[in-house]
């Protein structure tokens, strides 16, 4: 049947465009450098084809259709990973070994302590700097302040 869907039409348009691009680029190359012979001719033809093909791919990879399929593919793959992780977590429940979620909770607790200590250190640094400023009657050197942070936790 002679029914052509929009998607088929746009694919064939893109292919036609690629073909025209290639031939046009090839023609321009020939006109510029004179007609190459033998192996050089083959290489130029090949390069024109690859260039046009690359442009075609770039256009496709930036198209709405590709981006939507990328999004859906990623969503399904992430859903599968999340499902597998849930199954593993359930299987681990009741095991004497620490589960990933328990380790995670411990890491989060450590991070909170670390952040709180950092906050207190920052506030102390600012207070010391302000005091230095008052004592010296001028702004303290930033290099000295910078060196003071060395040895702090990453």
């Amino acid at each position: 049947m002679g029914v052509v869907t929009n998607q088929q039409s746009s694919t064939s348009d893109a292919f036609t465009q690629m073909w025209l691009d290639m031939m046009s680029q090839f023609g321009t190359g020939l006109a510029g450098a004179g007609a190459p012979a033998g192996e050089a001719f083959g290489r130029q033809l090949r390069k024109s084809f690859f260039d046009a093909w690359a442009r075609y791919w770039e256009e496709f990879l930036g198209s709405e259709a590709f981006l939507e399929s990328m999004k859906k593919g990623m969503e399904s793959s992430l859903a599968m990973k999340e499902q597998m992780d849930r199954v593993v977590r359930q299987a681990m429940e009741g095991s004497p070994l620490a589960s990933a979620s328990e380790s995670e909770a411990m890491i989060q607790a450590l991070r909170r302590i670390e952040e709180s200590l950092h906050g207190q250190l920052r506030s102390l640094t600012d207070r010391v700097a302000a005091l230095e400023e008052q004592v010296a009657g001028k702004s303290p050197s930033r290099a000295v302040r910078g060196r003071g942070t060395k040895g702090g936790s990453a």
Binding site: R46, F50, W53, A54, W57, E58, L61, G62, L67, E68, M70, K71, M74, E75, L78, K81, E82, D85, I107, R111, H118, G119, R122, S141, R142, A143, G146, R147, T149, K150, G151, G152, S153, A154
Partner: protein, 363 residues
């Protein structure tokens, strides 16, 4: 008439052997040699040793037979994606070598390979933590208040953040294909990371770190014809060229030596920088402190690649207008993202200029 048509039957074996058949058979015969070259490929042109380390991060010092001519050392900061030895891939293709030979005591940050225990490390830990400690160690080691920094790609973005936060510690800053402005969304990576299509939170929540295989796949897919077709055609064409093969396999070693990116770092970089463009707009905070590029007042050299498919010039060049420095230079070189570091032309024409630029501003 072609040669084969004019030959008599007695000449057939000789005529069949000539031309494309001969070329094809020569290629087949060259495979064992090519595989041997692949097996013996080594990367890294300049000997280096670790001199300092925190957690998995190491500070590498490049060895030189000659004493340093300049007091202030030079620190290379590479991206967290892939390995830093691309800056010192092979003899004749080494950015590091240019600076070592010119007389700088030269160092490189090796960020190491993050494991799931490192997934909470973010911008604050990398910039204000690790990078600051590397810089402070170098300052103590050299006895200099300031050092020189060269940041490549994402390492350039991190360097820019660092220098904005600690301008007093850096004498000169060189950026190499470093993205700072993500306002233009007209290239593939920007489209792929658009929040409408890419949920970075869900990815990192599920995987912990950004998987190396995903990053590798994305980078290869940016230039599918070049990476999946042309590269192998070129390998076939040059199977008998030993020098080509050595370069090719060294490059392949690096391209396939992928590492994951710490989850929180990847999340923050994608979200705050690539999706929300906070760095150039002065809205980025690292470790609770605002990052303002205008606080960068040291001399700046911004090197960009004209044909960069990963970091288009438009993402790097606005840096020079955003900084507070009066001494700002930008050079756009006709190369690609990787060619800027390892390309023969860049090594011949670009890096001597960069070395001269730094020498004129160094102590």
């Amino acid at each position: 008439m072609s040669a084969s048509e004019s030959a008599s039957p007695a000449d057939w074996p000789a005529t069949l052997w000539s031309g494309p058949w001969e070329a094809a058979l020569r290629k087949v015969a060259a495979w064992p040699r090519a595989l041997e070259i692949a097996r013996r490929t080594r990367v890294g042109a300049t000997p280096a040793e670790p001199v300092y380390g925190v957690d998995k991060v190491r500070l590498l010092r490049y060895q030189s037979e000659d004493p340093a001519k300049f007091e202030e050392p030079l620190l290379f900061v590479f991206a967290l994606v892939n390995r830093p030895y691309i800056l010192d891939l092979r003899p004749g293709k080494s950015v590091v070598r240019h600076f070592v030979d010119a007389g700088w005591d030269t160092y490189n940050v090796d960020w190491g390979v993050p494991t799931s225990a490192d997934r909470h490390l973010g911008l604050a830990e990398y910039v204000e933590g690790y990078l600051d400690r590397m810089v402070d160690d170098l300052r103590e080691r050299s006895g200099c208040e300031r050092i020189n920094v060269l940041g490549y790609c994402m390492g350039g973005s991190l360097s820019a953040m660092y220098v904005a936060l600690h301008p007093e510690k850096v004498r000169n800053l060189i950026l190499l294909a470093a993205p700072v402005d993500w306002s233009r969304q007209d290239h593939l990576l920007a489209k792929w990371t658009d929040p409408r299509y890419f949920d970075v939170d869900r990815l990192i929540d599920a995987y912990g770190n950004a998987p190396a295989s995903m990053l590798q796949g994305a980078f290869l897919l940016l230039k599918p014809v070049a990476n999946f077709v042309e590269k192998y055609v070129s390998l076939y064409d040059n199977l008998e060229d030993e020098r080509f093969l050595e370069d090719y396999f060294a490059m392949e070693t690096w391209l396939n030596d992928n590492i994951p990116v710490a989850g929180e770092m990847f999340r923050q970089f994608v979200k705050y920088c690539m999706q929300e463009n906070r760095l150039i707009e002065g809205r980025l905070k690292v470790g609770g402190r605002g990052v303002h590029l205008k606080d960068i007042v040291c001399p700046v050299l911004n090197l960009t690649a004209q044909n960069d498919h990963l970091v288009p010039c438009g993402q790097s060049l606005p840096f020079n207008d955003a900084v507070g420095s009066t001494d700002r230079t930008a050079i756009t070189f006709p190369a690609g993202h990787i060619g800027l570091a390892v390309g023969s032309k860049a090594n011949r024409d670009l890096w001597p200029k960069a070395v001269q630029w730094l020498a004129e501003r160094s102590r």
